[in-house]
């Protein structure tokens, strides 16, 4: 089996696979051919609307916070904002050009910026809860529970004594976190744990139940340990998480909002629709131009361009690439550039035909001679894309990723796909008619 024989099948397989990935599942309600949830179209904040907040970590008394603390603050903020948007929020740390650490919070699909700003800017609140011994589901809202009388607050995380929280191991060898609490809270805790031995003492953070530990013995004075399970077993909440939450219920670093961007979801949708219409018109113009100018090869290049569009979109969904407005613009632009290799090849083909070559050799010569130009220009594009991806800010990185994917896929579509299609066509009688190649003498 030579490559020439299997190439059509490889291309067909890639096309089908790309189609399979591209078909939207949720919006169309298509339940056939399931896809993992990780495969999806991720739109940037500017296209789906939402709020982005950039917080700069502040030095306190001239002391820079450690990276661990910044990471902890990030985790705390991530916990706080998760669940308020339509899709999951993103919270990441960055280092600004001035060397200060930053936390970037992106909450898509919401328009209530004050909700986000309040969550980001509040100090974390931890509650020990009286559930009359009942086990509470993780994630339940503490406000709802208190409002309908299911629970009472025993005391809050402020009662945990500074610096007393340590990762610990219980007598039975279970991993946990231990701490001491203030004398006032100790009395309440002693009463509750005595009354509800072998029942549950739930804990809430930032308004939600995060864990419902089993009370094994009355706790009256000394250290309390909350265990999460034996080492090596899967636990509902990890020791580190619990430690972080007990120790740093409040934000461990000082933060100041530096940048807020809020876009109404409807405005984002308008932008997306406008960009899509522009993309479809742009694609149609390029297809028309290629067919009008190159006839049969133009038709094949158009098929290759459709292949390109399908595959690039599939890659976007697979990675997944966050598509911002700039990214979509780059994608649309890349449709115009993707045919560049085809144009190079076809122009060269025409030259070879004019120089007296017959069709078959002219096609092969067109591809072979144009190859070095295609390679050089695409490698230089990839170099720039790589540099941008390595160096740039998140907006520029997104753009660079779109650019690089576009370049790689276009090399395959313009060279391999078009060539395979042309080879298939010239095996047919009708495919060898020279007027289909639009060679002006």
């Amino acid at each position: 089996m030579t490559w020439r024989r299997i190439a059509p099948w490889v291309i067909l397989a890639i096309t089908l696979l790309a189609l399979y990935i591209d078909i939207p599942r949720k919006s169309t309600g298509a339940t056939f051919l399931p896809l993992p949830d990780s495969v999806r179209t991720v739109l940037g904040l500017d296209l789906q609307g939402g709020i982005s907040v950039t917080l700069e970590v502040q030095a306190v008394s001239g002391e820079e916070p450690t990276p661990e603390r910044v990471e902890l603050a990030r985790t705390i903020i991530e916990r706080r904002v998760s669940g308020i948007g339509v899709t999951e929020p993103q919270v990441r740390t960055e280092v600004g050009a001035n060397g200060q650490a930053r936390i970037v919070v992106e909450v898509p699909g919401v328009s209530d910026r004050n909700q986000v700003l309040d969550l980001v800017g509040s100090t974390g609140q931890l509650f020990f809860v009286d559930s009359a011994g009942a086990e509470l589901q993780r994630g339940q809202s503490i406000i709802d529970l208190v409002a309908d009388g299911t629970v009472r607050i025993l005391f809050d995380g402020g009662e945990i004594q500074e610096g007393s929280v340590v990762p610990d191991t219980s007598q039975t060898g279970q991993l946990g976190v231990s701490f001491t609490i203030s004398p006032e809270a100790e009395a309440i805790w002693c009463d509750y744990t005595t009354a509800h031995q072998n029942a549950y003492g739930p804990i809430a953070l930032d308004g939600e139940i995060i864990t419902s530990p089993l009370i094994q013995q009355p706790i009256c004075g000394g250290r309390t340990i909350i265990t999460v399970g034996a080492p090596g077993t899967e636990t509902s909440v990890s020791q580190t998480t619990l430690y972080n939450q007990l120790r740093f219920g409040a934000l461990p670093v000082s933060l100041q909002v530096q940048e807020v961007t809020a876009i109404q979801p409807t405005l984002g949708r308008d932008f997306l629709n406008q960009a899509l219409i522009a993309g479809i018109v742009g694609l149609a113009l390029v297809l028309f131009f290629m067919i009008a100018n190159y006839r049969l090869p133009g038709v094949l290049a158009s098929l290759a361009l459709l292949f390109y569009t399908l595959v690039v979109y599939a890659v976007f969904r697979l990675v997944p690439v966050t598509l911002t407005l700039a990214g979509v613009a780059a994608f649309i632009l890349s449709i115009g550039m993707a045919v560049d290799a085809n144009i190079l090849i076809f122009e060269r083909m025409k030259e070879e035909i004019r120089a007296g070559k017959t069709l078959g050799p002219a096609i092969e010569a067109g591809f072979n001679r144009a190859w070095s130009s295609i390679l050089d220009s695409n490698v230089s594009s990839l170099l720039v894309a790589g540099w941008l991806f390595w160096q740039g800010s998140s907006v520029i990185r997104g753009f660079a990723l779109v650019l690089a994917i576009g370049v790689l896929v276009s090399m395959f579509s313009a060279v391999v796909v078009t060539r395979t299609l042309l080879r298939m066509v010239i095996h047919r009688e009708w495919g060898r008619r020279i007027e289909l190649y639009h060679v002006e003498r």
């Binding site: 603050a73 050009a97 001035n98 910026r113 004050n114 700003l117 800017g121 100090t123 009286d130 009472r152 607050i153 004594q161 500074e162 610096g163 007393s164 007598q171 231990s178 809270a185 009395a187 009354a195 530990p213 009370i215 013995q217 009256c220 000394g222 250290r223 340990i225 909350i226 265990t227 999460v228 399970g229 077993t233 219920g249 934000l251 670093v253 000082s254 933060l255 909002v257 807020v260 961007t261 809020a262 405005l267 522009a278 993309g279 742009g282 694609l283 131009f289 407005l325 449709i335 550039m337 560049d340 190079l344 122009e347 130009s373 220009s377 230089s380 594009s381 720039v384 941008l388 520029i396």
Partner: protein
């Protein structure tokens, strides 16, 4: 056959004519950076009472925002320009002393009868027990990060305060978009953009040097793309000077795309020159370049047309927010096609003839 190379002085003149006005307006400060670079606030909002831009501006000045500029935009929305909105510093404070709100106040409830049960059942679920480790609990030490206590709670965010003040005067509001950028983030963007552009160009120079075994090709391509960058930046300086058109963070991205496109074009011509040099070894370098340009002209124009078609579709039909981006691309792509044919390749000829002359002179003096 057309003689393109012979008229190269005219192309240099033309390039000077299109770059010099741009440079003049750059020097005149025509470039208007957006808040992405300077820091500031842009806020698109409308109010129930549909106040005029002047009313809202007056209200903002009264609210201690003398820098406010309010303009009417589409859809009955107003666009408000302000300084960056200052936010208070939050977090990093030791947890305050027990201050539960009254409704949630802990009360020492008398405990019901304790039900003793055998403990020690190993469960995978979380549990609480007294800790066996008799770690002496340290007396509360002041946390190292303790700082003079800042205001304990902030009543709403600074944006919220402003919104409430304005709503009190003009009725309910709807915010379509809001963007506030601190001055720190803005100023570093300019620096990092320049570095990104410069190093990107250096990579291209090195790659072309390697591929064409001559620094001339790399240098000529760089001259052409610097030409394109000046044309685009200059065009925005002129637009900024006369129409107040601003350039934003995406503008840098557009410049990078233009650079990529310009280099593509130059490489295609250079590649042909390299090929033709082997085939027509006897001919003069100028003639070879002339052939190469004519042979690749069809491709250059056609590729330009397809890219211009997609860019124009974006400019005319796409969202307003990326209009500066697409406009910069459109100008740059046309300039890129021109410069690769009429600058990059011509510089190679000029350079070749100049060094040939110098060689001849040197051998004559010897």
């Amino acid at each position: 056959m057309y003689d393109i190379v012979g008229k190269r002085r005219w192309y240099y003149l033309f390039s000077a004519l299109i770059t010099i006005p741009g440079l003049i307006f750059i020097a005149l400060g025509g470039l208007k950076p957006s808040i992405d670079f300077t820091g500031g606030t842009v806020w698109q909002v409308r109010f129930l009472d549909d106040p005029s831009a002047a009313d809202v501006q007056a209200a903002l000045v009264a609210l201690d925002h003398p820098e406010a500029i309010v303009e009417e935009v589409d859809g009955g929305f107003l666009e408000v320009h302000l300084e960056p909105i200052e936010f208070p510093i939050v977090g990093g404070i030791p947890t305050p002393a027990p201050t539960s709100s009254p409704s949630l106040a802990p009360s020492a409830m008398p405990s019901p009868s304790a039900t003793p049960a055998p403990s020690g059942s190993v469960s995978e679920s979380p549990s609480v027990t007294p800790s066996p480790t008799a770690t002496p609990s340290p007396t509360p030490t002041p946390a190292p990060e303790a700082s003079p206590p800042p205001p304990p709670t902030v009543e709403g965010t600074p944006i919220e305060e402003l919104v409430q003040e304005l709503e009190a005067q003009f009725g309910f509001s709807e915010t379509r978009s809001l963007d506030t950028v601190g001055a720190i983030i803005g100023s570093e963007l300019i620096r990092s953009s320049i570095i990104i552009l410069a190093v990107g160009e250096a990579f291209i120079l090195l790659y072309l040097w390697y591929r064409f075994r001559s620094i001339r090709f790399g240098a000529a391509a760089i001259v052409a793309l610097v030409h394109d960058v000046i044309v685009v930046v200059g065009a925005f300086a002129i637009l900024g000077y006369f129409f107040g058109v601003e350039f934003d963070a995406l503008f840098v991205t557009a410049l990078l795309t233009v650079i990529g496109f310009s280099v593509h074009d130059s490489i295609v011509v250079f590649d042909r020159i390299r090929e033709n040099r082997l085939r027509h070894a006897g001919e003069s370098f100028g003639a070879i370049v002339n052939h190469s340009i004519l042979q690749t002209m069809g491709r250059s124009i056609n590729t330009s047309l397809t890219v211009v078609a997609t860019t124009a579709a974006l400019l005319l039909l796409g969202p307003v927010t990326i209009q500066t981006f697409t406009l910069a691309l459109l100008i740059g792509i046309v300039s890129g096609t021109y410069s690769s044919i009429f600058n990059a390749s011509q510089i190679l000829v000029t350079w070749e003839e100049w060094s040939a002359k110098r060689k001849a002179r040197r051998s004559a003096t010897r």
